[in-house]
């Protein structure tokens, strides 16, 4: 069931760290490589539980990634985990050659994605990783909507034979799903049904989509809300159906609109069911220091902007 506001705010990092320990207990082949951020991203808990299975390599993310690849090549399920800017941007060609091209069981889990890193500023606010990673052949890309999903991504990633990239937030985020909810690889989940417009969100923007849907309902617009926690492989069936049945789509992501989920959804529906679309996200700019919510507001990643965008696409559709 979809939970509504006021939401409980929970840590995705905490849920990730907890799920990783549980996975480690079930599967002795799970190992972790860390890069001087293990306490912050909660892989330290894994190190405490399994001191022989976490390898700390210091501030050396390319090394972290290739070491994880070597471990995976010898049969391990290797988690490489750090902040997204270091774990995906700084390491891109290492991931490309040693992980994706080689098709290895490396699970790249990156916290501190997007603007909500906050006061650390633009150097640490990576808004480009979804595009980078979904462009790699064979890479599975996961963006959990909340803390429970962050935990479930760990289990899903471990079950996939191949590379996985999972990104989530530094900030505590609204818990919009419950543990009983279905969650599967490659399945976009309809969180709320509606027939007038579809709001597709990922990560923290799923909660904003649900808020926007509430506001739209007051104006008599029935919005469908889709949680795109698997960005790749993309659930084109669910998206096509939404395009066909609602005739207008708004995407919302804490990521650049240049090559994020908006671009992915547009490319998918344009082929068979082109409909008016609008893209809420970071508009091809770098972020800055500030508190998470302040930044989301300043850069237009709000429920209000989604609501406006919905009215815009409805107008385009000629409703």
């Amino acid at each position: 069931m979809t939970l509504g506001p006021p939401w409980k705010m929970e840590s995705q990092r905490g849920a990730f760290g907890k799920a990783l320990v549980e996975l480690g207990r079930r599967n002795p082949d799970v190992v972790v490589v860390g890069a001087d951020t293990t306490e912050s991203i909660k892989t330290m808990d894994f190190a405490k539980a399994f001191p022989d299975r976490l390898f700390q390599v210091g501030i050396a993310e390319p090394n972290m990634m290739s070491i994880a690849a070597g471990l995976a090549a010898a049969g391990k399920i290797a988690f490489a985990a750090t902040y997204s800017v270091f774990g995906s941007a700084h390491t891109y060609n290492v991931i490309r050659q040693n992980v994706a091209y080689t098709g290895l069981n490396v699970k790249i889990f990156c916290s501190h994605a997007g603007l909500t890193v906050g006061p650390d500023g633009a150097t640490h606010q990576l808004n480009e990783d979804i595009g980078l990673m979904r462009g790699l052949p064979g890479m599975t890309v996961l963006v959990p909507a909340d803390a429970p999903e962050a935990g479930r991504c760990v289990d899903v990633a471990a079950e996939i034979d191949g590379p996985v990239y999972c990104r989530f937030s530094r900030s505590n985020v609204p818990t919009v799903t419950s543990p009983e909810d279905p969650f599967g690889l490659g399945k976009a989940r309809v969180m709320r049904d509606g027939s007038d417009v579809t709001l597709v969100g990922c990560g923290i923007m799923v909660a904003k989509c649900l808020e926007a849907a509430d506001a739209l309902a007051k104006a008599g617009v029935r919005a469908r809300v889709i949680n795109l926690s698997t960005v790749k492989p993309l659930d084109t069936a669910t998206l096509d159906k939404a395009a066909r049945e609602t005739g207008a789509i708004v995407t919302a992501e804490e990521h650049t609109v240049v090559h994020g989920i908006g671009a992915a959804v547009a490319a998918a529906v344009a082929q068979d069911h082109p409909v008016p679309m609008a893209f809420v996200g970071v508009q091809d700019v770098f972020g800055e220091s500030g508190e998470a919510e302040e930044l989301l507001k300043k850069y237009g990643l709000t429920a209000e902007k989604i609501e406006e965008a919905a009215h815009r696409v409805l107008k385009l559709r000629g409703r």
Partner: protein
Amino acid sequence: MSEVTEEQIANLKKQATILRRHIIRMTHNVQSGHPGGSMSACDLVAALYFHVLRVDPANPTWPERDRFVLSKGHACPVWYAALAERGFFPVEELMTFRKIDSRLQGHPEVGTTPGVENAAGAEGQGLSFSVGLALASRIDHKAWRVYTIMGDGEQDVGQTWEAAMAGAKFGLDNLTAFVDRNGIQQEGRTEDIMPLEPLAEKWRAFNWHVLSIDGHDFRQILSAIEEAQRTKGRPTVIIARTVKGKGVSFMENKIKYHGAATSDEELKLALAELEVPP
């Protein structure tokens, strides 16, 4: 050290000559590829594949095999030649190198070529990858070892030194790395492009066991590998002084042959010089 007979040395020399002939013909055939660095590493590769490595050509993914990692991926002609001569795939297939639909890609690809353990081409990732392999062998209490050949150009890459620190931190005595010290990289002499010396001191400062040898002397190569196998508590790097283009007089020590194939005329001359001993 265990005895290596004259006969074994003679056989290794013969194998190395056969590999060099393949390298020349493979790169000539497509008029591309990297013969120079393949030939400098040739004796190291021959020693490993025909004397040291425990591998099973009939079962390339045998879990207990030693792992060979070619970090300097552009030298893959020598790897493919060795794998073919060891029986991982038919020798005739070597002439498909770099051609469309071939299992022998221009740089190594995992999963397509039987016996290839790592993708390489973007330089400087192989030693880190090897650290991961060596860690896996150790935590599983396995006997298999990891042997990695780096280029000296790769000593420019920051990640090489990230890996060096990690190898020493984790005390990976099951990891043996080679630097194919031919002194030439794509655009010139290593000491002009980015000076590396004193290279052995650098590795010593990174807490590796360091050996310096003539990389074309099989007794020195085998002796160094044995010493690496006996060394406990830290990884060994063998800095092998080599000659780029080794084995063909007009190619030796020439920057050009880093990434240039021989002409038709040069092919004849080269093969004439690379006569396989009886």
